[in-house]
């Protein structure tokens, strides 16, 4: 057992059911405008955190770590390796539900951040997230800051709109309404940006410094990355991982923010949902009714629940296509990915939709 590393520098740890990586990238990008930072890579297992701790040196003026707390006790273990003084819980959802018995256990697991971070530190919560409301903060002795798009949030994004492959919004900083732009997609990512903005504001970053940091955010491969391809084709690659909430968020981006004559969603199984598997997939099926897509392709055993539920709630059966064979699916997708088409690809990592993405990118060249 190693002794805890306590630092008197900004030590940010980000957890949550989804949005961790994006929130980390945004926060690190902003903080790096003024600080020499240490940023964790996307590996956030216990061993990975141990390695990060060893790599942190005196030259690092701020630390930004992604800390998955997807199994009971891992939050405690990770915060015991290095104690954050800034904690972020991006969201609480059903990702990795197979390790839990109820959503309340997931709430408790994410709350380990609050329990083991610096009691005088600052905890950032998602004001709009349904299950984040269950985080019981009454015994946390530090500050709590809530970020969201709804009225009442401490840092609230307003006037959100899609603009040049990213999201534009306004946020009040020190009483002044500031325009911000972040080159990632979706309202949920606006909230992830708010976490970075709020943390930077705590350390007295100016609005311009924050804007500069946001501009430099690099979209991670497979995490709602928008590729512009020849023939005015667009590929919205969200194939890195999936859970019901992030899948619906991705569909919302495809529906609301991406232009195109034809919109196709390719959805695969979401893994690690445990006893929530059926309900989680059906939740996506229900959500489909709210969107207008030309075709929805489904792949994998569990995605049949999406199909059946979508039909049940009135989504046109003619627009739904289910495949069990990945090669046949790819063949069909390539055929359907005509000019002026936007295709969103979303599934759990285990579904291996990277194969689909690779095939598409092999065939069609990127355009600037």
């Amino acid at each position: 057992m190693e002794k805890t590393l306590y630092l008197d520098r900004p030590t940010v740890a980000i957890t949550g059911s989804f949005g961790k990586t994006t929130a980390k990238e945004i926060t690190a990008s902003i903080l790096s405008v003024k600080y020499d930072i240490y940023k964790s890579n996307n590996s956030n297992t216990i061993n990975a955190v141990r390695k990060h701790v060893k790599r942190i040196t005196d030259k690092h003026e701020a630390i930004v770590l992604e800390m998955a707390m997807n199994i009971k006790g891992t939050g405690k273990t990770k915060c015991t390796m290095i104690q954050p003084n800034i904690g972020v819980i991006t969201s609480v959802g059903h990702a990795h539900f197979k390790h839990f018995n109820s959503i309340y256990e997931i709430v408790k697991s994410k709350s380990e951040m609050m329990k083991y971070m610096d009691p005088k530190g600052t905890l950032y919560l998602n004001f709009d997230d349904e299950y984040s409301q269950f985080i019981d903060t009454q015994y946390f002795t530090g500050d709590i800051v809530k970020c969201g798009v709804s009225s009442g949030a401490d840092y609230r994004a307003t006037d959100i709109r899609f603009n040049n492959d990213g999201m534009e919004f306004f946020v009040k900083l020190k009483g002044v309404k500031e325009r911000m732009f972040v080159p990632v997609l979706g309202e949920h990512n606006v909230i992830n940006a708010l976490f970075g903005i709020a943390i930077a504001d705590k350390f007295n970053f100016s609005a311009d410094e924050i804007r500069k940091g946001l501009e430099n955010v690099e979209v991670q491969k497979g995490r709602l990355a928008l590729e512009h391809l020849e023939g005015n084709r667009k590929l919205l690659d969200d194939s890195h991982n999936a859970n019901p909430a992030s899948m619906i968020a991705g569909l919302k981006v495809l529906n609301n923010y991406i232009d195109g004559d034809k919109k196709i969603a390719l959805l695969g199984d979401m893994a690690e949902l445990g006893s929530f598997n059926r309900e989680g997939h059906e939740k996506v099926g229900t959500a489909l009714k709210k969107f207008e897509f030309d075709k929805v392709y489904l792949y994998g055993q569990s995605s049949k629940y999406i199909l059946n539920k979508a039909v049940e709630v009135g989504f046109s059966e003619n627009k739904l296509f289910h495949f069990d064979n990945i090669d046949h699916l790819i063949e069909e997708i390539v055929k359907e990915f005509e000019e002026n088409t936007t295709l969103m690809v979303k599934a759990s990592h285990a579904t291996n939709f990277s194969k689909v993405v690779e095939k598409i990118l092999d065939i069609y060249k990127r355009v600037e």
Partner: protein, 520 residues
Amino acid sequence: MNNNPNCFSELEDIVPKTAYGEAFTIYMVAYEAWRRGLNVSLENVYSSTEYRNHIHYRVFDNENDESFTWERPLSMPKSTLRIISSKSKTRRILTKEDVPTVKSKVLNTTDPDLITSRLEGFLFPLRISSIDSPEHNEVNYIVSDFQEIKTIIKEKKEEFKSNKMLIEESLSHEHCHAYIVNGEVVGAYRNVPLYIKGDGKKSVNELLKEINELLNKIPSDRQFTIRINKEIEEILNQQNHSLNSVLKKGEIIFLDKEDEKNFSVDITDNLPSNLKNDLIKVISLIPNLSQGEVEFIYDEEYDKYKIYAINTQVNLKKYLYPIEGSARFIPKAIIDYYFPETQEKYLSDDTPKFYFDYEIIEDEIQNARLSKAVIPQYPYEPNLVAKLITFTSSYDGIKEIIKSNFFKLNINGEFNVINENQFELILAGNYQDVAYFHDFLKSQPYFENIEFKDHHFGVRVGYSFNGLPIPKSNVLNTTENQNIEDQEITSSLKTNYNNNNLRKTPKTIKNIIEKIKNKF
């Protein structure tokens, strides 16, 4: 007098009473490992050579794994152990390498003339002990001249279980001990008979009380206090003093008594470097020995020494609680040596003062009801606090309520009954859990006068109920309660540590006292 019981303040209040006696050495080494986050397990192992059970304990982490008995690693080859277990074998090896050792001889005669002739050249005092006794129950006497030898052999012959006697040069009461680990003297002390030192103000009686208070702070059997009785008065009389005498500043009175308790005085920094090097050499001359205690006789005036033995069982208290000089924490050096990756990594620096209980070892392991005990890992996480909550209650079901919270919140601590309806709770855990526990108590109608404050003393891992609130329907009278308490105290005092059954004649006592007096 520079008393040092408080030298290691971090160790104060963490040694359970069950480890006060013989188990102290085991406990301290295991505790040192444990508080660094190492895994510790203890088991009972029967020794067919000693006809008794021994506690072995294993210390390990992902990198290293070592088992010990006493403070000695089990990885030490048996051939090495056979050498150091035998003083004569050890002395033969050392003598071959020109290391001065005490003279010794095994005699199997009771003929006084023969004895006298065979001991020619020996320096008194000598130690006589029986060997090869089937019970391994050595009988020891210290003698000052040939006449005393003859008397002992004549009068005490029946006490010796065999005809074989080991006679060796010894100044048992002022033997020096040095502990060597990895080529370094990490601690050294000289045994000194019990004494008090005057300050020009206090009476002997006051000094005795003062020193007893200090001795009581040492995790040791309560017998290790100086009893103010006729025997003491007699010793004082021999030195022209009484209990009411006021000693001059720096004046020393020795209080040597039959039960042979003595102090240790730290001499680590006083040993000349050539002697230290020689002591290190002694350990290195024994094949495969990297640590051990060298017992030696040392004449500071002439800078002469003779090696007496290499000890296989060490009393660490002598190093940890010297009556003068600095305390030397030998377990640190041992664990540093076997687990170098944990050097200076004390988890205990950032947590409440946790300790583990030894009761299960005494109650369940040593009597073979359990074969092994694995100590839970040192409770370590950020934001641990220790609090003391006191409250009053007349509710019969307190235990269930408190227990469910201990269990649910994974909190360490204890519940103590102060009196019939007054209680205290020691809680050590995450600050949020402890705050919840406190709020919970406040929210219940059964608890009143709740007070909450920091707790700076030891916290035993796990949770326990010490004395239970007695249902009103079944209240014992005060005398019965007192009896229960007395029984608990008696049982905790059962483990008296006395590994020294040395007896001496009054003449020898006088000689030794004189000799030591001259050294001050």
